[in-house]
Amino acid sequence: MTPEEFKKIGEAHQKKREGFEYNINVCTAAACVSLQSEKVKEALTKQVKEQEKKDVCRVSGTGCLGLCASGPLVTINNSQALYGGVKPDDAPDIVKNINKKPVKRLQIPDDMPFFAHQTKMALEHCGKTDPEVIGDYLALEGYEALYNCLTTMEPVKVIDTMVKSGLRGRGGGGYPVGLKWSTVHKAVGVKKFVICNADEGDPGAFMDRSMLESDPHSIVEGMAIAGYAVGASHGYVYIRGEYPLAIKRLRSAIKQAERQNFLGKNICGTPFSFDVEIRLGAGAFVCGEETALIASIEGKRGTPRPRPPYPAEYGLWGHPTLINNVETFANISPIVRKGADYFASIGTERSKGTKVFALAGSINNTGLIEVPMGITLREIVFEIGGGILGGKKFKAVQTGGPSGGCIPDEYLDMKVDYESLAQVGSIMGSGGMIVMDETSCMVDVAKYFMDFCRSESCGKCAPCRVGTAQMHNLLTMISEGRATMYDMELLEELCDVVRNTSLCGLGQTAANPVLSTIRFFRDEYLAHINDKKCPAGVCAIEHKEEAVL
C-alpha cells in the first residue's frame, strides 16, 4: 500500500467523523466497562435515534480517558464537554443538551489540574480513537512512522533516532533502548525475534493494560519498526491471560493491520516482512523477567536463567531477541514522527520524555496519567491526583510494586526520574504509583509485599526461595508484636543477603519494600517491637495478647 492509499483510508474516517457535528465518545476501557459504560453507550445510541439527531450525532467507543475514578466517562467532540459518572438514565439529558450548555451535574471541568499537568506522548491517541477501528488510527497519522522508516530510513538510522531520543526502557530497569536495539542489530543470527512484554504483574499497575485496550495499533506499529531496525521478521506479544479485553483488542488490531499490509509479507510493498503473534501468560510474576518470559513462550515453566548471555545475543530458541515493554513500544512511533529532538527536549538530563503512571490507592483522582520526567511527586499526588482521599494525612507513595519502595513526605519535592527514585531506595518500575495515608501501617505493607514475593518466587535459587519466606516470617513476628530487636537485625542482614545473591531481578529487589520502610519508618517498626503497638492500628497486636490470656 502506498502512503496515498492509507492516507485516503484515514481521511475517509476523518471525514466520517467530521461529517457529524457532535461526536460522542464513550470510554470503553476496562475500568469504565466494569462501571457499565457499554450500557451507557447503548442508551446514548438509542437516544440519538429517538431524539432524531442521527444526522448530527455519532456515538462511538473510545480508549481510556484517564480519570478512572469518575467513570464511566463520556466526551463530546473530545474537548467540548467531559462527563463523569454517567448512568444510562443520563443519556436523554446529554443528547438533549448537545447543542446547548453542557449538563452541569455530570460535567467535569476539563481545565482541572488532572488534565492540565499532563503531557501525552505514549497515550496521545487514548480517548480519541476507537481502538477497534484501524481507520481511526490512520486518521491520526497512524502507521506513517512505519512507512517512513521502511522507505526512507536505513535500520541503522532508525536505531540512531532511538539513541538520540534518549528513550529508556519503560518496563522498570531503564536500560537505554537505542543501545539494546543496536546490540540485537549487531548480533549474528539467521533468525531474530522481537518480544513485547505485556505480562504486567506488578500489583497496582494497569498502564500496559490500558494502552493495549485503548491504542493497540501503536504497539503493533512500534514492534514492526523495532523488527525493521534489528532485522527480525517475527514478533511475539506475551500478554497476561487475565486481561481478556486487551487480548481481544490486540487480536483484532493485528488482524486489521495484516489486512492492510502493515504486517505480513512485503509490508507496504517493501522487502521487509514482519508478523506478530500473541502468547498468553498464565499468571506468574517472575515471567516479567526476560529470561523467564522466554522460557514461558517456549512452553516451559517460567524460571529465569543466569545472564549473560543476554537475550539480545541468545534469546528465544537461542536466537538474538529484543524484549521491550508495552509503553516502550508505544513511544516508538511518536518519536519517529515528532523527531528524536522533540522527545529529548522533554524530561531531565538522564531521563528523557514522558512516563505513564497508574495512580491508585488513597487518592482522589485515581487513573492513568502521563507526565514529563522530572515532575515532582507533590505535583503528581496533590495537583494531578487531587490530594488524599477523605482529607486524610499523606504518609507515603509506593512506586515500583514489589520491587520498589515507599517514599515518605520529606521527599515529595523530589523530581521523578530513574536516578532520583533509585537514590531513595525505590525504583521507577513499570509505573504503578500507590498513595498511602495515615491509616496504612508500613510494617503491614512490607509484609504484604514480602508475602507476594514469597509466593511468586519461582524456587530456582535458594536465596530468593528461602530468603523471602524467612523475611516474611520475621515481618509477621514484628507485626504481631512477638519480635525482639535481634529479629530486626536479622531481617536487615537477610535483606542484604537476598539482594546480593539472588539469581534474577525478583529476588534482587524483593528486599526493597522492607529496606525502604525500615529506612523511613523505623519508628513504626520500633513501636511494634518495643511498645507492642501498631501506630496505624492495622496490625492486630492487642487482639493476639487477649487470645493468649
Binding site: 467513570g71 499497575a205 506468574a284 504503578g432
Partner: protein, 162 residues
C-alpha cells in the same frame, strides 16, 4: 480413550490448538489454556491426552500446570468469586472482605463450597486499581466493594439459580 470422548466437541478445540502450532512442545501452555477454557479446569484425562499428542512427559506437564496460577487442577463450583489482592485493593480493605466471605460462606481462598455452588479465588491484581477494592463475580467486575456489598452480591448470585 473411549470413542465418545474422542468425538467430544471440546476435545476438537484442544486438537485445533495443537494443530495450529504443529504439535510442537512449544504449544504446551497455549494448549493448556484451551483445555481450561473448554473444560473449566485441567483434568487428568486431558493432561494425559495432551502429553501423548505433544510428546511431553506427564511430569513436565504437571510441573507447568502447577507453576502458573492461572491453571487449576480442581473443578470449579457453579459460581466463582475472584477477589483482587493487589496493593491498591489491599490497603483499601481486602483483609476485611476475605474474612467476611469466610464467615458467611465458609470458603477460604482456593476452595469450593461443599454444595459446589461457590468457588472462592484471589487474584494478584486484576488491573482495576482505580476501582479498588475490586472483585470479579462470575466474570463481571464489581468495583469499590465493601464486606457488606460482597456478602450481599455473592448471596444473590448463589441464590439466583435455586
Amino acid at each position: 480413550m473411549n470413542k465418545s470422548a474422542s468425538k467430544d466437541k471440546r476435545r476438537k478445540l484442544v486438537d485445533a490448538t495443537m494443530r495450529r502450532y504443529g504439535h510442537s512442545t512449544y504449544a504446551l501452555i497455549e494448549t493448556l489454556h484451551t483445555v481450561q477454557e473448554a473444560y473449566g479446569y485441567l483434568d487428568d484425562d486431558n493432561l494425559k491426552y495432551v502429553s501423548d499428542a505433544l510428546r511431553v512427559p506427564l511430569s513436565k506437564i504437571y510441573g507447568v500446570a502447577t507453576f502458573y496460577h492461572f491453571f487449576t487442577l480442581k473443578p470449579q463450583g457453579e459460581h466463582t468469586a475472584v477477589l483482587c489482592t493487589g496493593t491498591a485493593c489491599y490497603i483499601k480493605g481486602v483483609p476485611a472482605i476475605l474474612s467476611a466471605i469466610r464467615d458467611n460462606f465458609g470458603v477460604e481462598d482456593g476452595d469450593t463450597t461443599e454444595d459446589n455452588k461457590l468457588s472462592m479465588l484471589t487474584a494478584r491484581c486484576i488491573g482495576s486499581c482505580g476501582l479498588a477494592p475490586a472483585m470479579v463475580l462470575d466474570g463481571e467486575i464489581a468495583g469499590q466493594v465493601t464486606p457488606e456489598i460482597v456478602v450481599d452480591r455473592i448471596g444473590r448470585m448463589i441464590q439466583n439459580d435455586t
